[in-house]
Point group: C2
Chain length 337, copies 2
Amino acid sequence: MMRYSKLALVSLAALALACSAYAQDPLPSWNDGPTKQAILEFVKATTTQGGPQFVPPEARIAAFDQDGTLWVEHPMYTQVMYCLERVPDLVKAKPELKGKPPFNTVLELLHGDRAAMEKLNMQDLELIAAATLSGMSVEDFKAEVKKWIAEAKDSRWKRSYLELTYQPMQELLRYLRANGYKTYIVTGGGQDFVRVYAEQTYGIPPEDVVGTAGSTKYGYDKSGKPFLTKEPKLILNDNNAGKPEGIYLMIGRRPYAAFGNSTGDKQMLEYTKTGDGARLAMIVLHDDAEREYAYGPAEGLPDTKVGTFTQALYDEAKKNGWNVISMKNDWKVIFPF
Amino acid sequence: MMRYSKLALVSLAALALACSAYAQDPLPSWNDGPTKQAILEFVKATTTQGGPQFVPPEARIAAFDQDGTLWVEHPMYTQVMYCLERVPDLVKAKPELKGKPPFNTVLELLHGDRAAMEKLNMQDLELIAAATLSGMSVEDFKAEVKKWIAEAKDSRWKRSYLELTYQPMQELLRYLRANGYKTYIVTGGGQDFVRVYAEQTYGIPPEDVVGTAGSTKYGYDKSGKPFLTKEPKLILNDNNAGKPEGIYLMIGRRPYAAFGNSTGDKQMLEYTKTGDGARLAMIVLHDDAEREYAYGPAEGLPDTKVGTFTQALYDEAKKNGWNVISMKNDWKVIFPF
């Protein structure tokens, strides 16, 4: 019985701790107001047993866009920076690419004005992405990303990209999980790329990351050991309509809550919000040039190609009962540091 | 304190129950022998904290083929029976198909010798599958499968297909989950089809079912409400090399244990077994004509097109340290009934 008694004490302590944590504000980095209130009410409604909007634990799915929703996406998506910064090594391995566009342009930019990288067009980026994101084993790719992300630094804050996550969203992830929600990332970024750091950064395991995905090819090395090679063939473009399509493919259930920040999240938010019962659709507006960035062009904010939030999307949000999260007004702090 | 005391008592009761359950045989439907021993040793090795083969809980992934591994696949895969039995309704909705092969043949067979359905060739089956598995909303498809599977009966046992699961494998699923393993279905069958009943049948939620998958298309109904339509376009053929490729796409981690029964599982078993540390690869041999079916052609068993287990696969199993599960010798009972 001695062992049981000790365990009972531990259980009691854990319980007491859980109760006291619950009594505290679960979202301390959020300012009081309608946005925070909407989150608290949604969670209460969907977790109150016997209530009209109760959702059984197994159906509690929440989907989060990553770039611009969970972490900084300006001046350029982290994965694009990875692809660009892989170019020197790529050219070393394949010298025939050295003088060829867009690789020559990237090499010049890496030594000069990195902000000018925005000028690379979509076709350039696709070529660079194909060359740096495929053709290697999945293990080699994972090792390369792991190494890069441990060392790479953002140009403005001089900090690891992994630190540039939004503290209020980290609290929201934990709050939803504490209430039985399974939190998924549903990103337009590369599924393989995000899976490398999602567990350490967001507490989200690889199998709960849905993203743009290419095919792999099963084969054998010289010793007969099987391995998978990343191929330059798209299976899922997890943007726009691809987000609900990707959710159906990878999760198979409609989310009860979804969070985004740009036109690429429109269909995911629509799909989530039009389900039965209580549904939460929220969209982050980057309106805080001082603490982070300001871009839209919604509400007269500066236009951008990275994480565009149009006025039409803003109007749809207001019309359909989505909550717009104002970084400036709703968030007490932006970063954990 | 009253509430705490009650809860403490409940905790103690749950703990006592767990301890007593653990003391009992976790696999009572398995005969003692090297196969059962291999399972018990694998679980012990991978869950013993501080042991050389300890696997952290988040990496404990086990992959199960469905047809022929978790439930009966003879004389014909359940999903093929679904497709065939959908043909009368399909022809009612599209009368132009009535006189056309292979639909006319199916209509004749449904009124006559159902065993003769094996004679439909692969091209016939592909046409029937495309016609019965796509072109509808994902909700309509789910409702149709749900209705069919609740009523359909197997021809030999006159029981619901959902009852024809193997009791020893049900115990194995529960045993692995009780030891922190996440159990996935990795099936050559349709992902959407299996997801409809996997939770009630195996305790496996939709998001943990990986299978052959087609694309969907996002659109809006007349009222502007979004919905997804199933399209006749393959995204993932989750057979053979497609199994490890599908595991990488949908889970993103290599399993520590995998279970199959046919040539379609070969690559999944290879991929699993060649990972570092303790890995368990097991393959069910249907060698029990009396209690279930006998087919191979491995070990001189009758040849079959449904769930083929070749001698080459048997030899690979022996060479690479996979365990062959003999239904006849390793399983005390086959079905829960």
